[in-house]
């Protein structure tokens, strides 16, 4: 699986990709093509490289090398089209040859910066001095390019004559002949240079990809520094201390609202999350999904301490997927999604995140469906988190409850904006089979119609 395929999940990982500070289009492509890794040694190696990159980014005495490197990456062009032509035995034109020469020269400058940052082992760049030499027949060392006189014995004399005629306004017919001949020679030289460069195709492709990888790596380092991300340990369960959701944290900070990170630990099997409305259950699912994807894509995670259990993938059913154009109702599209999730879980070990399943149908059948989903997932090796408002489900799976409203706040005037100050988002083990009943209270805090609330309250009392 690749990062670009994970963007479709509703775990909120897209936000992380959006805030990545990449310098080049090639780097962005490298990021989207990067793998969701499932092998612990591979991930540990990837995190080692990230750690090295973070050290280099924070290396103030060698800041100029870091700036040089970022600048090189900014100048990196995506030459995949040119390399494809080269591999397919198509002759390159002057502009393409120049681009290859520039890449060789760029990789030399980048290599110097990488050495200066002591990242030589982390970001080895292939040696491009041979292909550079092919495009630098006069050994100028400069990354300019044209079909140099020295490429063909006929060119110097031809151009001397051309120059003389052009500057003196000589015979147009002769000039036209010379230009045609020059063009012929140049095409021949381009073909020859393409042939000479062809054996270096792999080196050149590696150079570009390695530089694109460097771009992605440095962007991950920037991300880790900016958000104070932590390197996770690999274990047989998932555990976070002070897990946060970057997107929600950012939004809360912008609105001067408090953000409360949470501690959570989950193992194979099903864990039910209950709690009042607005207690952050959906955000919690998204935070766990985002952190898992980040970790397995070689990033550090938004927490103070983290252990991740490597899974084959992250599958989610979060949010309302109602799609009139599909002819599917909310319930239909949700149940199809959940059915697909169950299918995948029979083949692979996944992280499964399901937000309030069967909430859009009648409570009798809805509850029965939730019970069945839990029973099936309990028997499979996946790690499952399900949020629900249904009580009395009669299962013995683990339950975590969001603590929710802080007691003793009843008399303080609440507003939809200030409500988050009175909610404790932390989780507590819950042995009972009940769920909190705070829907009416929240509706009243939100300033909903009084008659609606009082009538509903009467219904409950009867």
């Amino acid at each position: 699986m690749k990062i670009k395929e994970l963007l479709k999940s509703d775990a909120g990982f897209q936000y992380i990709i959006d805030i990545m500070d990449l310098m080049s289009a090639a780097g962005r492509r490298a990021m989207l093509e990067a793998a969701f890794r499932t092998s612990a040694p591979e991930l540990e190696a990837e995190w080692d490289r990230l750690e090295a990159a973070i050290r280099a980014t924070n290396d103030i005495p060698n800041r100029r090398y870091y700036i040089d490197l970022r600048h090189c990456l900014m100048c990196l062009h995506d030459l995949s089209g040119t390399f494809a032509s080269l591999a397919n035995h198509m002759p390159l034109n002057e502009v393409e040859l120049f681009e290859i020469k520039s890449l060789c020269s760029l990789s030399r400058s980048a290599a110097t910066a990488i050495e200066g940052l002591a990242l030589g082992a982390t970001l080895p760049l292939p040696d491009c001095s041979e292909p550079f030499a092919i495009l630098d027949p006069d050994h100028t060392g400069i990354a300019n390019f044209y079909i140099y006189d020295s490429y063909d014995p006929e060119l110097p004399a031809l151009r001397r004559e051309l120059n003389a005629l052009q500057t003196s306004g000589g015979d147009p017919m002769r000039i036209s002949d010379l230009l045609a001949r020059q063009s012929e020679i140049q095409n021949r030289v381009c073909m020859r240079l393409s042939d000479e460069l062809r054996p270096w195709t792999e080196t050149l492709v590696n150079t570009m990809e390695q530089m694109a990888y460097a771009d992605f790596l440095l962007a991950r380092a920037e991300l880790a520094i900016r958000w104070n991300l932590v390197r996770p340990a690999v274990g047989d369960h998932i555990a976070y201390r002070q897990l946060f959701n970057p997107r929600v944290k950012q939004r809360n900070e912008e609105m001067h609202l408090r953000y409360q990170p949470v501690d959570i630990e989950v193992r194979s099997g099903v864990c039910l999350i209950t709690g009042a409305n607005m207690a952050g259950k959906t955000v919690l699912l998204k935070s766990i999904g985002t952190a898992q994807i980040m970790a397995q894509c070689g990033m550090f995670v938004p927490a103070e301490e983290a252990t991740v259990c490597l899974v084959e993938g992250v599958v989610t059913s979060i949010g309302d997927d109602q799609d009139e154009m599909n002819g599917l109702s909310s319930y239909a599209s949700e149940i199809i999604k959940i059915s697909n999730i169950l299918q995948s879980c029979r083949n692979e070990r996944l992280l499964v995140l399901i937000d309030e399943p069967a909430r859009t149908t009648n409570p009798v059948e809805g509850k029965a469906l939730v019970q069945a989903i839990i029973k099936i997932l309990e028997s499979l090796p996946s790690i499952t988190l399900i949020t629900t408002h249904y009580g009395q489900l009669g299962t013995d799976c683990r339950r975590l409850r969001v603590k929710g409203f802080v007691e003793g706040m009843e008399n303080i005037p609440l507003t939809p904006q200030s409500i988050n100050r009175f909610i404790d988002y932390s989780l507590t083990e819950d042995q009972s089979d009940n769920v909190p009943h705070e829907a009416l209270r929240i509706a009243s805090i939100l300033g909903c119609d009084e008659q609606l609330i009082s009538l509903a309250q009467e219904n409950i009392n009867h």
Binding site: E94, V95, E99, N144, Y146, R159
Partner: protein, 335 residues
Amino acid sequence: MPFISEILRHRSLSIVGLEKNTGKTVCLNYILHRMNQLGVHVGVTSIGVDGEQVDSVFATAKPEITLFRGTHFITSEKHYLIRQAVSRLVAVDSQRTSLGPLVTAEVLIQGKVLLSGAATTAVLKRQIQSLDSMGVDISIVDGALSRLSLASPTVTDCMILATGAAVSANVKQLIAKTRHLYQLICLDEVDETLRNRLSIIESGIWAIDNDGEIHDLEIASVFLIDRSEKDILRFGHTLFAAGAISDRLLKILAAKGKDITLIARDFTKIFVTPEVYVDYTRRGNRLMVLQRSKLIAITLNPTSPQGFLLDSKSTCDALSDALQTPVYDVKKIEQ
């Protein structure tokens, strides 16, 4: 050697035509020739071969210009590969146009080149900066079609306006059309304090009251304004339009009252027809600009594409009289 020394006091020059076939290329070739004789290091680029509007057949029909040794130029990959000058590539831009990426090269042996360039003024500004960093003494931008945006003082320091028989074969009409644009180019500037305060505003129509306070009239665009806009003058008679100024806006203002001063960013943002402008000013209103473009010269091409030929001397004199500024027949200067 008319107007060359004047050009050399600036870092960038745009050549814009009132119409196609008004002799921009002849003018550019003349300037390049003179600059070469003077040993000036020139950078050349263009604007306007944008893929949406101009097909490559049309683009290749663009006249070629002759570039001399040492000149830096920017063009598209496609046009670069069919050049007749011998030149050395020094940079390739990562942004692509419909004719491939823009490339920068230095001429080794003089010859003809087709210019194509940035599609937007933002990219053009970057290109001028990059030519600057390569050490050119002056950057010259060849206008395409009847685009004027490149002559904005925020893009190029000075401009040449090319006019001619292609605008109209009737000398009176030719003069009227040229004079209209000339008047807009020569609009008075506001004082520096006001300019600094207004230039940071990006959109909308604003009023400046007698105490110099600036008020947003909360009209997002001149295209949304209509006659029911009753109190557009509630803060006073001085207005600033951050975006384009259209006939519609001038008509509404002309109907509202007199002694109105409407300020535009620069003349390239003013899209008004001569009739509406005359009616607006006749009522005692006026237009001003934040920044005026430096007009170096007006050139005339007496030949129209249909083959119609005006008398060069009398037309130049008539235009010169009407505009009170020198007008040159470039083909004659060249000889």
